[in-house]
């Protein structure tokens, strides 16, 4: 048996052709293909009658929660996080140099600190930052970015990268401790709230997603 179906047989399965419209030499293959899709089980699937009450019991509990509890529950909900690391040899050297610079910085703190300039503030800021991973499932998108209060809503600064061909887009950003509003921008024009995050009204009839970044060892709500 050949592995794949003839293109005309696939059009038959898609409902674009009838069996009678196939060339005679393809009719047997067409009948076989129709048996395949005809095996799809269209019977209804009945779930447990207790499901309704389980949902409503949870809903009643959540409805009684204070807003802070809802944010805390969102923060505590386990989420999928994929970390992929590709290392090129030069990055090992760059990493070594960065480690040396960090060590020098730590040792330098023993000396009297100079007045805080912009660069120093940036470093100080980094110590109060937390890595936050943004994930969006957008299989049809050509490009995705995240824009928010942390990057002045600039849609070009923080692009997400596709994770293989799965339709999942991700990026990781260092965000300062505190609460930030954001949204995803798909194909440069379509603004989408994060389906996995709470959202607030932006005052202009649209909604923004919210992420609360807490310092290690504490939480900011």
């Amino acid at each position: 048996m050949k592995t794949g179906y003839h293109a005309l047989v696939k059009r038959l399965l898609d409902g674009e052709l009838t069996l009678a419209e196939l060339p005679p030499e393809l009719r047997a293959e067409g009948e076989e293909a129709l048996r395949l899709v005809g095996a799809a089980d269209r019977a209804p699937v009945a779930l447990s009658p207790a499901l309704d009450e389980r949902v409503m019991a949870t809903v009643r509990r959540h409805a009684g929660d204070a807003p802070a509890n809802r944010v805390w529950r969102w923060l505590n909900t386990p989420r999928d996080v994929e970390l992929r690391l590709r290392v090129r040899p030069w990055t090992v050297w760059a990493g070594g140099l960065a480690a040396a610079a960090a060590l020098a910085l730590l040792l330098g703190r023993a000396a009297p600190a100079p007045p805080l300039g912009p660069g120093t503030q940036a470093r100080a800021g980094l110590r109060d930052s937390v890595l936050v991973r943004f994930v969006l499932y957008a299989p049809g998108a050509r490009r995705v970015a995240v824009a928010g209060t942390f990057n002045q809503w600039d849609r070009s600064i923080a692009p997400l990268v596709p994770a293989g061909t799965s339709g999942v887009w991700t990026t990781t950003l260092a965000l300062p401790v505190g609460q930030h509003q954001y949204a995803f921008v798909v194909d440069g024009a379509r603004w989408i709230v994060d389906p996995a995050a709470p959202a607030v009204d932006d005052g202009f009839g649209r909604r923004n997603s919210v992420v609360a970044v807490s310092a290690p060892g504490g939480h900011t709500l």
């Binding site: 699937v45 999928d80 499932y137 299989p139």
Partner: protein, 187 residues
């Protein structure tokens, strides 16, 4: 949407959503009853297990309640809920793949009927197809389920998934070839 089923069915989805957002939490039960079984078949076929599907539907209904204020178009609640359930199904599969925990057998989906002898072959084929579906990519499986189990047209599938019709057809055609290979003993 908006099938009129008895007294509670007279309220549209949008009316129920607004009532719930206004504080009438108990009205949410109308939406639970309306959609729990409607999406059960999709979840079962995507996940290959009725039990796992039940958890997914339950979780999606709770998540939808938690984020009801984000439902921008309450009259399209059904489509919005579907997207939540769809994301939940994809997440479930990813999680199980990472943990190398295959989903349960599809046997339970076919546990029922006493069928006449003449239909035995069809039952076997249906069972084989359910198992073969679990060997497709999630995207291929989804387009097959939505078209051949749920009976949606490509344009409708594009509307709910956000993919283009051309890419959906490409997925589907690859799925046909793969299923033929997997099902060769049963055709």
């Amino acid at each position: 949407m908006g099938a009129l089923l008895g007294f509670e069915g007279e309220a549209t989805d949008a009316e129920v959503v607004r009532a719930v957002l206004a504080g009438d939490v108990e009205r949410y039960a109308v939406l639970v009853r309306r959609y729990r079984d409607r999406y059960a078949r999709y979840a079962s076929r995507m996940l290959g297990s009725r039990d796992v599907a039940e958890d997914a539907v339950q979780d999606a209904l709770v998540r939808a309640f938690d984020r009801l204020a984000d439902c921008r178009e309450p009259d399209k609640f059904a489509g919005w809920l579907f997207l939540i359930l769809r994301n939940r199904c994809y997440a479930e599969r990813r999680q199980r793949q990472r943990q190398e925990r295959p989903l349960d057998s599809t046997d339970e989906l076919f546990a029922a009927p006493d069928r006449p002898d003449g239909e035995y072959e069809q039952v076997e084929r249906a069972h084989a197809l359910e198992q073969a579906l679990q060997h497709l990519t999630p995207e291929q499986r989804e387009v097959f389920v939505l078209k051949h189990t749920e009976g949606l047209a490509y344009e409708e599938i594009a509307g709910v998934t956000g993919a283009t019709v051309a890419s959906l057809k490409m997925r589907m055609h690859r799925a046909y070839d793969r299923l033929r290979e997997l099902m060769k003993e049963h055709l």
